[in-house]
């Protein structure tokens, strides 16, 4: 992929969003650069999910602008909008797989709707996607209710990747996974970023995951982005919530992992 890192694929400016009669986001500025993995953190209830859902168009905004892949979403026509929808993939927190379809059919769903390939090729691509996220081809025939939590996340990721998107939204991808599965997921994400050159917008609470995968981290607090930068910026920040977050009790137990994770980040840079 012609990776021109640096130019933003998502540009959010002065975003204001009300949710449940409360101003949740008040002037958010945020860039997602091409080819980077952006980790997005903030206290529970700070509005991370609201921001994600606003960008992907599930919630209305009160003011501001969101530009995705050069298209200003609030001014885009239905067709332009759909063209953008095709170029991003979303992984919901619980997977949001269609429970009445097998995993394979779940992955095939967007392919069938958008590309109209032959059934044979559609199936082959779906199997290839399932294998890409580290599943056995036979998972194709399983229904979501027959899969474990980690497998559901992987199938959902395969579905999000079905159309070879340029941007991937991940909502707490490692929540509910055991540390080993979570580490595997991080590793998978790095591989996919390398091979497919996708830009990733990841909401997460997982410190290990942040250390291991993210090129940049943005912090949301009181309706604004209070800090954005790499791990060193985060560790050096004087913002009280950030100090608590990265130097608190939970963070210290993971210190070894953190150091290792930073080494991975440095090597990649």
């Amino acid at each position: 992929m012609a990776t021109r890192s640096g130019d933003p694929v998502i540009k959010v400016r002065d975003l204001v969003v009300d949710f449940a009669a409360r101003r949740v986001l008040n002037g958010v500025d945020l860039d997602l650069k091409r080819g980077e993995i952006l980790g997005f953190v903030g206290a529970s209830g700070a509005g991370k999910s609201v921001l994600t859902r606003t960008i992907i168009g599930l919630l209305p905004m009160q003011a501001g602008s969101i530009e995705v892949l050069g298209v200003e979403l609030s001014k885009a026509s239905q067709a332009e909008r759909q063209a953008v929808d095709r170029r991003w993939g979303v992984l919901f927190q619980q997977g949001a797989l269609f429970s009445s379809l097998t995993s394979g059919k779940n992955v095939e769903f967007p392919i069938r709707e958008y590309l109209r390939l032959s059934p044979k090729l559609t199936t082959e691509i779906a199997i290839s996607k399932l294998e890409m996220v580290g599943l056995k081809p036979d998972v194709y025939r399983n229904y979501p209710s027959e899969l474990s939590g980690g497998m559901i996340k992987r199938v959902a990721l395969a579905r999000a990747l079905a159309l070879d998107p340029e941007i991937l939204f991940l909502d707490e991808p490692t929540s509910g996974l055991d540390p080993i599965s979570a580490a595997e997921f991080d590793h998978l994400l790095l591989t996919l970023q390398e091979t497919l050159g996708i830009s990733v917008f990841m909401v997460t609470h997982d410190l290990d995951s942040l250390h291991r995968t993210c090129d940049r981290i943005a912090v949301l607090s009181e309706g604004k982005i209070v800090e954005a930068g790499n791990m060193d910026v985060m560790l050096a920040s004087q913002h009280p919530w950030l100090k608590e977050y990265f130097h608190g009790e939970r963070a210290h137990t993971d210190f070894q992992v953190a150091i290792k994770g930073r080494r991975v980040t440095e090597r990649r840079a």
Binding site: M1, A2, T3, F98, S99, S100, L115, R116, L117, S118, L121, E124, I125, I127, S128, K129, E131, M132, P137, D138, Y140, R141, Y143, P144, S145, E146, L161, L163, D164, T191, E194, T195, L196, G197
Partner: protein
């Protein structure tokens, strides 16, 4: 955007050169597939088996994604499965990783077991259906048994009974159902009276319409219409509620906290239904008689006073009692079927829908069967 192409190079004695160019991406996959298929069958002037060597030249591929990568890999696999030697040259280095990742997969499902067809399959499906009916029956008896146990244990410890929950359900299945039940039974009563008058008039027997409406409504129709409506209205709601609780593991949560789901969820619902259906049957029967009387007066010219005195002669307490006594049994059956289906819901949204449908269909069927059994019973004891 440049389109994607695949050209056949000059074929040599024992080989074939394929040259790909352009954007090998998802958008072009539909057009590329036929080209790939053609390339997999292309033989030039030679027999397929004579081709020993395939060179796939990807130098001019400008853009590649997983779709393009798989299409290339698929061509190579087809040829190597025929014993030809394959080689991919000229792929841009930044697509190497992607191609290797796609190539690494097996891309094959293990074949399914051969499915039976024809007569055997028909017998199999008949057999399975019969077994399902049998399982359903045992399930009903099982849940009825559990319900009795729960009821007795609540009788022994009355403070454990969820009175508030029962009142809440009573409000929903009884109070909220009154308007629609009364409206429908009113209309049914009116329609029966109208039809009766219209046809009896030919014999000059208009007045007997009072007997017909009275007996039909009090003995059969009142309770039947109400039960069918309640099965559709509340039975389905019970199944959907319990089913979604089952899906989200709320039922399991109750169990782990040491509560019996039958006692906590099913008993209050079924008791509420057993109280609600007789009340609604009474109201429905009255509404139907009122509707019948109104039509008899306005359409048939039977004065309300005459209607009432005729009604007194044609029916008695027994007629009324026969209808009412059936109501709680019907309620029990509706409740049991609804709760049983709800508890059988599996993980998927589809299964919730299927079980809710089953619940309504089965409870209406059973209500009519029970009504028939009661008719046989009352006839044999001479009521």
């Amino acid at each position: 955007m440049t389109a994607a192409t695949l050209d056949h190079g000059p074929s040599r004695d024992d080989g074939l050169d394929l040259k790909a160019a352009g954007h090998w991406t998802a958008e072009h996959a539909r057009l590329l597939e036929p080209l790939i298929d053609a390339a997999s069958h292309a033989t030039g002037k030679h027999d397929q088996t004579q081709i020993r060597r395939i060179v796939f030249d990807a130098t001019r591929v400008e853009h590649l994604d997983t779709y393009g990568a798989w299409l290339i890999e698929r061509t190579l696999r087809v040829w190597s499965s025929r014993g030809a030697e394959t080689e991919l040259i000229g792929l841009q280095p930044n697509y190497r990783n992607l191609f290797e990742k796609v190539r690494a997969g097996e891309h094959k499902l293990t074949p399914l077991k051969h499915k039976q067809t024809g007569i055997v399959a028909t017998f199999e499906s008949v057999g399975r259906t019969m077994m399902a009916v049998f399982t359903d029956l045992t399930m009903i008896f099982q849940i009825a048994g559990q319900l009795i146990v729960a009821f007795l244990s609540v009788c022994a410890h009355p403070r454990r009974f969820r009175f508030t929950s029962m009142i809440n359900h009573l409000e929903r299945v009884c109070w909220h159902a009154v308007p629609i039940v009364v409206l429908i039974t009113f209309l049914i009563g009116a329609i029966i009276a109208q039809q009766g008058i219209f046809h009896f008039r030919t014999f000059g027997a208009d007045i007997y319409v009072v007997d017909m409406v009275g007996v039909l409504v009090l003995r059969e129709l009142g309770v039947l219409i109400v039960c069918i409506m309640i099965a559709g209205r509340s039975g389905s709601a019970y199944t959907a509620e319990l089913g979604s609780m089952k899906m989200r593991e709320e039922v399991d949560a109750l169990r782990t906290m040491g509560f019996d789901p039958i006692e906590v969820l099913v008993l209050p619902r079924i008791l509420a239904l057993m109280i609600a259906v007789p009340i609604l049957t009474f109201l429905g029967s009255m509404a139907a008689l009122y509707g019948g009387g109104l039509v008899a007066w306005l359409y048939g010219g039977i004065d309300p006073k005459i209607f009432m005195s005729r009604l007194h002669e044609s029916i008695n307490g027994q007629t009324f009692a026969v209808g009412m006594i059936k109501a709680p049994f019907m309620a029990l059956i509706i409740g049991l079927v609804a709760c049983m289906e709800g508890m059988q819901v599996k993980g998927s949204a589809e299964s919730l829908g299927a079980k809710t449908t089953d619940s309504v269909v089965k409870s209406i069927f059973l209500v009519i069967v029970i009504d028939g059994l009661f008719a046989v019973f009352f006839a044999s004891v001479g009521i």
